[in-house]
C-alpha cells in the first residue's frame, strides 16, 4: 500500500499544487495515464466545492487530501474543517436539457459520482470527509 497526504488552505489558488500532488503520485506509482483525469476531476470538483462553501464561515478552512493505493484501487480522501456540507445531497442535474435550457451549474458532483466507483460523505468530529474510490484498469 502506498499512501501520501498533503494539506492546503481552502483557496482557489491552491488548486494547481493539489493537481501537481496528484500527478506526482500518479507517475511515481506508474499508474495508467488514461485513468488520471477522473481523479484530477474529482479533486478539482470537491476542492472547489470546499472553497465555495467554506467561504461562508469566518475562517478559511484547512483541506487535507490523501491518496491511498491498494490492490483494490485508489482512494482519494478530501477532508476539511469548514461548515458542514454534504455535496452528495445536491440534486442531480438534468443532463438532457437543450443548450438554451441547460443550467450552467451543478455538474461537478454529478461527474464525480459517475466517474468514481464509490463516493461517500461523513461528518466526523466537526470535519467534512469525502472519500472517493475507483478500481484502476490496465
Amino acid at each position: 500500500m502506498k499512501e501520501q497526504r498533503t494539506s492546503v488552505a481552502a483557496q482557489a489558488t491552491h488548486l494547481r499544487e493539489l493537481t501537481a500532488f496528484l500527478q506526482e503520485f500518479w507517475s511515481s506509482a506508474s499508474l495508467p495515464p488514461a485513468e488520471c483525469l477522473a481523479f484530477e476531476l474529482a479533486l478539482e470538483e470537491i476542492f472547489m466545492n470546499v472553497v465555495m462553501h467554506g467561504s461562508a464561515g469566518a475562517d478559511v478552512p484547512q483541506v487535507d487530501v490523501s491518496l491511498a493505493l491498494t490492490p483494490a484501487g485508489l482512494t482519494l480522501t478530501v477532508e476539511d474543517d469548514g461548515p458542514g456540507f454534504d455535496p452528495l445531497s445536491l440534486p442531480p442535474p438534468d443532463v438532457t436539457a437543450s443548450v438554451a435550457d441547460r443550467p450552467v451549474g451543478g455538474l461537478g458532483v454529478f461527474l464525480v459520482r459517475t466517474m468514481m466507483d464509490t463516493v461517500s460523505y461523513a461528518r466526523i468530529a466537526g470535519r467534512n470527509q469525502l472519500r472517493m474510490s475507483k478500481r484502476l484498469e490496465g
Partner: protein, 118 residues
C-alpha cells in the same frame, strides 16, 4: 491553458491547449465574449478543436456551454471536434454530446457546420 483563435474564411477555429479547468475557464469565456460582442460581425461558424485539450472539469464545461449559448443567440453554427478520449468521456457523461455537435475530426466539422440546417 493556451488559446489560439484563427479566423479561416467565415469559420473561426478555437484551439485550447492544455487544461480547461477552474483556472482557465474565465479566459476561455472572455475570448468567446470578444468573439460574439466584438466590433465586427459574429462569425458564421465556430469550431472548438480539442486535439490539444488534455483535461476538462465542470468549470470548463460551463465555459463551453456559455459559448454554445452565445453562438446560438448570434445565429452562429457551433461544433467541437477531435476531442481526446478522456475529455470526450466527460462531454458524454455530462450529456453535452447530446446537445452540441462533436465531430471526430476538423475536416468533418468544417463540412458539417457549412451544411444547411435541417
Amino acid at each position: 491553458m493556451n488559446l489560439r483563435i484563427e479566423a479561416m474564411g467565415e469559420i473561426t477555429h478555437v484551439m485550447p491547449e492544455g487544461r480547461l479547468d477552474f483556472d482557465a475557464a474565465p479566459a476561455f469565456q472572455q475570448a468567446f465574449e470578444r468573439l460574439f460582442r466584438g466590433a465586427g460581425p459574429a462569425p458564421a461558424a465556430v469550431i472548438i478543436d480539442g486535439a490539444a485539450l488534455e483535461y476538462v472539469s465542470s468549470a470548463g464545461l460551463r465555459a463551453v456551454l456559455l459559448a454554445a449559448k452565445a453562438a446560438q443567440r448570434s445565429g452562429t453554427a457551433f461544433a467541437l471536434c477531435a476531442l481526446q478520449p478522456s475529455v470526450r468521456e466527460v462531454f458524454e457523461l455530462s450529456g453535452f454530446s447530446q446537445i452540441m455537435p462533436i465531430h471526430p475530426d476538423l475536416e468533418t466539422a468544417r463540412i458539417q457546420v457549412r451544411a444547411p440546417k435541417k
